[in-house]
C-alpha cells in the first residue's frame, strides 16, 4: 500500500478511527490539539461522536461511561491534562473498562513547558491514580509505529478490559513522517456481555463499578486484577534491539530519545566504538528479562539509560539488570533532549569507567 505523509497527532486519531473508535472526548492542550481537531472534522463522516468536554476530568469520565456502554473510545491530552485524568484512569482500571488514552508528553512539573518531554514515565507506569492497578503503556518512536500500536491498543484494551496508554511526546505529535496503513494481527476478542446497553428485560442488570465495600470482595477483586496483569506480562511485552549483537556499550531508551540514541550509536561505530540500543516499546509490562538477556548475553560492558527526563525509567533499567552491569544516566528534563553528541560523550565516559 502507498505511503502517506502524516502528522503524528492526526495519524494517532486516524488510527483510532480505523480501529473502530467512534467516540472521542477531550479538552484542548498543547502539543496535542490536532488530535481533538482531527476527530472534530472526521468523526461525523463515520457517524461517530466528538465532544469537547469542560475539562480533562470530565473527558476521562465520559470515556468511562462510553466504554462501560460497550463502545471503543479514546481520550487524549498532554502531561498536565493527563494528571487530571488520573482519577478516571484508576476508576477505569478498577471497573475493568477498555479505554485508549494518548499522552503527548511535554515538559513538567506543573505547567512546565510545551516542548517535548518524557517526564511522565512514573505517572504512566506506576499509575498516578490510587490503588493497585496497571495500565498497558505503549511507547512508539515513529509515526508508523504509533499508527500500528494505536490500532493494536484497542484490541489489547478490549481483550483484557484494561486502559491502554499510548505514550509519546510533543515531537512525535507534531512531526510528519511516512505512514503505510496496516491492520493489526487479528485477535479473537470476547463479546462485551458486561456492557450497560439496556437489559431489554432479557437479563439481569449489568453493573459497571469499582466499589467493593466488603474488603474481602475488594481483595478478591485485586487478586483477579493481578492475574490479569500477570497474563499481560506474559503476552504483551514489546521491545526492539538495534545494533546490539556485538555492542560494548548499550543505550536503553524509549520513544524519541531512542531514535537519538540510534543516531549516536551509528556515529560511535563510525568512531570505532561498538554501541547498540535496547528500546522498550511496552513500558508496562516492561521487557525486564529481555533487557537483562540483551545486556548479559554478549559483550556489553556498560549500560547508559537516556531519557528526556531527570531519570525515571532508569529505575526499571536497574531492576531489570539487577546489578549485573554498571548503569549510567543521561537525560534532560523540562522540554529539552540529550543530543547525540552528549550521548556519545556519555558512552565514552561509561566505557572509561569499566
Amino acid at each position: 500500500m502507498a505511503k502517506e505523509l502524516w502528522k503524528g497527532n492526526e495519524a494517532v486519531a486516524e488510527a483510532a478511527i480505523r480501529a473502530g473508535c467512534r467516540y472521542f472526548f477531550g479538552y484542548p492542550i498543547t502539543p496535542q490539539n490536532e488530535i481533538p481537531e482531527y476527530f472534530a472534522r472526521h468523526m461525523p463522516e463515520h457517524d461517530g461522536v466528538f465532544l469537547q468536554a469542560e475539562s480533562e476530568v470530565a473527558a476521562i469520565n465520559m470515556a468511562y461511561g462510553a466504554a462501560g456502554s460497550g463502545a471503543r473510545v479514546m481520550t487524549s491530552s498532554s502531561s498536565p491534562g493527563i494528571s487530571l485524568k488520573q482519577e478516571g484512569i484508576s476508576y477505569i482500571a478498577g471497573a475493568e473498562l477498555p479505554v485508549v488514552i494518548v499522552n503527548m508528553m511535554r515538559g513538567g512539573p506543573g505547567l512546565g513547558s510545551i516542548a517535548p518531554g518524557q517526564s511522565d514515565y512514573f505517572q504512566a507506569t506506576r499509575g498516578g491514580g490510587n490503588g493497585d492497578y496497571r495500565t498497558v503503556v505503549l511507547a512508539p518512536a515513529t509515526i508508523q509505529e504509533m499508527t500500528d500500536l494505536t490500532q493494536e491498543a484497542f484490541d489489547i484494551a478490549d481483550l483484557y478490559r484494561i486502559p491502554v496508554l499510548v505514550l509519546a511526546d510533543g515531537m512525535i505529535g507534531q512531526m510528519m513522517e511516512a505512514v503505510e496503513w496496516k491492520k493489526p494481527k487479528a485477535r479473537k476478542l470476547p463479546a462485551k456481555g458486561w456492557a450497560t446497553d439496556g437489559t431489554k428485560g432479557k437479563r439481569e442488570h449489568n453493573i459497571i463499578n469499582s466499589l467493593f465495600i466488603d474488603p474481602k470482595d475488594c481483595t478478591q477483586h485485586n487478586q483477579n486484577l493481578q492475574k490479569k496483569h500477570d497474563l499481560i506480562t506474559q503476552n504483551e511485552i514489546r521491545f526492539e534491539e538495534y545494533l546490539t549483537d556485538d555492542a560494548e556499550v548499550l543505550f536503553v531508551a524509549y520513544g524519541t530519545t531512542a531514535r537519538i540514541c540510534q543516531s549516536a550509536a551509528i556515529k560511535l561505530r563510525e568512531a570505532g566504538v561498538k554501541a547498540g540500543v535496547f528500546r522498550p516499546i511496552s513500558l508496562w509490562p516492561y521487557p525486564e528479562k529481555e533487557l537483562y538477556l540483551c545486556a548479559n548475553r554478549g559483550c556489553v560492558k556498560t549500560v547508559v539509560c537516556a531519557e528526556m527526563s531527570m531519570g525515571q525509567m532508569i529505575d526499571d533499567v536497574k531492576i531489570a539488570l539487577n546489578g549485573s552491569k554498571p548503569v549510567r544516566f543521561i537525560g534532560s528534563g523540562g522540554g529539552t533532549f540529550p543530543t547525540s553528541a552528549e550521548l556519545m560523550a556519555a558512552a565514552h565516559t561509561a566505557l572509561e569507567g569499566v
Binding site: 505523509l5 502539543p31 510545551i114 510533543g170 515531537m171 507534531q174 510528519m176 513522517e177 531514535r259
Partner: protein, 182 residues
C-alpha cells in the same frame, strides 16, 4: 544521501508548507522523510521554522542540529541558523529582504531574490515556491517534476488556477540559479 534542512522565516511566508512539500516529494521519490515544526507561542508571534530530513537510508533521529542546508526567508533566521550550518553546507538566502550576506567562509551561499521574482509573477505569496525551485536546482535532491506533479494534487477546484503560477515560480527559482552559474 542525506539532506538535513532547516527552513525559517516569518509566519505567513509559507515556511511550513515549503517544508511539507519537500517531505512529501521526498516520500514520493522513495526517500525516508521527516518534517518537524517548531511549535508553540513563538509560532503565534511571528517566526516560524521547521526541519526536513530527506535520506536514502532509514531516518533514525528526527532532530536536526547541524543542518546540511538552511533556507532563510528573513534576516533573524539567517542570524540564528547560519552558525548552525555544517561546514561545507549551503545557505539559501531570500535576498529580496535580507540585505546582509552570509559571513562564514566554509559554507556556500545562494542569494535568491524570491520575493521579487514572485512579485513579478503577480503573487508575492509564491516566494516560497521560487525558493523551493532554487533549492532543488542546487541540491538535485529531488526532481522538479515530482513537485510539479504534487502541485496539481494540492491545488484543486477553485484553487486550480494556482497550479500554473506555482509551477512557474519553481521554474523561475531554478532558472535564477542557472543564470548565476553561467
Amino acid at each position: 544521501m542525506i539532506h538535513e534542512i532547516i527552513l525559517s522565516g516569518f509566519g505567513g511566508q509559507g515556511i511550513m508548507a515549503m517544508g511539507k512539500m519537500l517531505a512529501e516529494a521526498g516520500m514520493q521519490e522513495g526517500l525516508s522523510v521527516n518534517w518537524l515544526p517548531s511549535y508553540g507561542p513563538e509560532v503565534r508571534g511571528g517566526t516560524a521554522n521547521c526541519s526536513v530530513m530527506l535520506s536514502s537510508e532509514p531516518i533514525v533521529s528526527p532532530i536536526v542540529l547541524e543542518p546540511t542546508e538552511i533556507i532563510v526567508m528573513n534576516k533573524p533566521s539567517l542570524l540564528r541558523f547560519e552558525p548552525e550550518l555544517v561546514s561545507g553546507g549551503i545557505a539559501f538566502i531570500n535576498s529580496s529582504i535580507i540585505e546582509i550576506p552570509a559571513t562564514r567562509r566554509d559554507i556556500n551561499a545562494f542569494y535568491v531574490p524570491c520575493l521579487d521574482i514572485a512579485s513579478e509573477l503577480g503573487n508575492p505569496r509564491a516566494a516560497n515556491m521560487v525558493m523551493l525551485g532554487a533549492y532543488i536546482e542546487v541540491t538535485q535532491c529531488l526532481h522538479q517534476k515530482t513537485v510539479e506533479k504534487m502541485l496539481t494534487h494540492l491545488f484543486t477546484g477553485a484553487k486550480a488556477g494556482l497550479v500554473a503560477l506555482n509551477k512557474e515560480a519553481l521554474r523561475r527559482g531554478a532558472a535564477c540559479i542557472l543564470r548565476a552559474a553561467c
